[in-house]
């Protein structure tokens, strides 16, 4: 469903090496590498946000994308419940862990950071999409959250959804991903 050929992406200037990447339907690919190699930039390029300096991206026509960034939805002071957040993206609350199911009708700004993060992540994970791009999804999650996320990613991919995960969490990447691509710094950096 996705293929990149010698893709160099960035913002004002190139931020990645030339990347060849492919993803099949139902596959989970992990992207790792040291800080600054352009993992998040690559996701942004796949989502059409970052600039492409050279190479190309081939996406299956009609592909529906969902993108989770490291930015937290700005909900402080906003009377928005978890259920309403999920409804906005079209995500179903079915399958949420029990510790969140019982708090889904509470305002997001009255939840703990971890609970809020997981709900915000779930809203993207369960949104109608064929390709899901996740950027450091385990940030702010405790061990139970990481286990639940890992299990859910496998379940989601079984339905044919392709998933690309950027993460520094080696144990999570190993447990969740079918294949891992390690990005390296650009020459001379």
């Amino acid at each position: 469903m996705l293929r990149t050929e010698a893709l160099v992406a960035g913002w004002q200037k190139p931020a990645t090496q030339a990347i060849d990447l492919s993803l099949a339907a139902g596959e989970i690919v992990g992207l790792t590498g040291p800080n600054g190699v352009g993992k998040s930039t690559l996701l942004a390029a796949l989502a059409g946000r970052a600039r492409i300096f050279s190479g190309r991206i081939q996406l299956q026509p009609g592909l529906r994308l969902a993108l989770q960034t490291q930015d937290v939805p700005p909900v402080d002071g906003l009377p928005l419940s978890g259920r309403e957040l999920l409804a906005l993206t079209g995500a179903s609350p079915e399958g949420l862990p029990p510790w969140l199911t019982e708090r889904i009708d509470i305002r997001l700004d009255r939840l703990s950071g971890g609970q809020r993060h997981y709900l915000a992540l779930w809203a993207v994970l369960q949104a109608p999409a064929d390709l899901i791009l996740l950027d450091e999804p385990t940030n702010n999650l405790d061990a139970a959250g990481v286990r639940h996320l890992t299990a859910h990613l496998h379940e989601r991919s079984k339905g044919g959804t392709g998933i690309i995960v950027v993460s520094h969490d080696a144990a999570f990447v190993e447990a969740a991903c079918d294949r891992v691509v390690v990005l390296e710094a650009r020459d001379g950096e």
Partner: protein
């Protein structure tokens, strides 16, 4: 209230008291509550310019605010952080005060707009409100989900291919026109009080978005009815009475 002399202003204000708190919730969502004050001042300036130019003030007010709302996006990149609203507010206020100071025929209307003399509202204003408020509420309902999604997940909003202009320019224009309509009847500060205080309280108290909208609506309507009766009974200008009442309620509830 059975007296038609007061019934028309009451119904005109009531329609606005339903619309403005709901509009205020979305302005607050976008952190654009200052826009209410800006559009009101621009509308006041437009109304006075129209009056001096021999045109109906309501046309001038709505046109000026509409232009400001639609044109704001042209300068969005250069005027970030609410600067565009501060510029519109100061520009509108300056033009309105200078017109009122130098044109005798503009002085009376200027006082009415800044004092908030709802009792001057006549059938023309009532018809505009009766036609405009339902349309504005339908548009707000249609924009609601996109406004919320664009605020919480701007990237998801974009990659879904959703068009940004109805949500951005469309909402700016809607807010400007509603505020202009309200300013013509409730005055600058009366309109601002209804846009700002009920949503502010609702956002603090409500457990979810739709309950927030209900809170804002109820607070706005109750505040409006109370202020109308008080101002009538005490023979005071409506705008300041509404503002004082809402501020008092705001401080107690907060």
């Amino acid at each position: 209230m059975g007296n038609e002399l007061f019934l028309i202003p009451f119904l005109t204000g009531l329609g606005l008291a339903v619309l403005l708190p709901l509009l205020g919730c979305y302005l607050r969502l976008r952190d654009e509550w200052l826009a209410a004050l800006a559009y009101s001042h621009v509308a006041a300036a437009g109304a006075l310019l129209a009056l001096v130019g021999g045109l109906p003030p309501v046309i001038g007010g709505i046109s000026a605010a509409g232009l400001a709302g639609a044109g704001k996006r042209l300068f969005a990149r250069r005027l970030v952080g609410g600067a565009s609203y501060a510029m519109l507010l100061l520009g509108g206020w300056a033009v309105a005060v200078l017109m009122a100071a130098n044109q005798p025929m503009a002085e009376r209307l200027g006082h009415a707009l800044f004092d908030g003399q709802l009792y001057f509202a006549g059938p023309d204003e009532l018809w505009l409100v009766a036609a405009g408020v339902p349309v504005a509420m339908i548009i707000l309902r249609l924009l609601s989900r996109h406004l919320l999604l664009a605020h919480t997940y701007p990237d998801l909003f974009r990659i879904r291919g959703l068009k940004a202009w109805p949500t951005q320019i469309g909402f700016d224009l809607l807010a400007a026109l509603c505020l202009a309509l309200a300013t013509m009847s409730l005055g600058v500060m009366g309109a601002f009080a209804l846009v700002f205080i009920p949503p502010w309280l609702a956002f603090r108290r409500a457990g979810n978005w739709y309950s927030g909208l209900r809170w804002a609506l109820v607070l706005g309507v109750l505040g409006y009815v109370g202020a109308f009766l008080l101002a009538l009974g005490l023979d005071q200008p409506f705008g300041p009475v509404l503002a004082i009442l809402l501020v008092a309620v705001g401080l107690v509830v907060a």
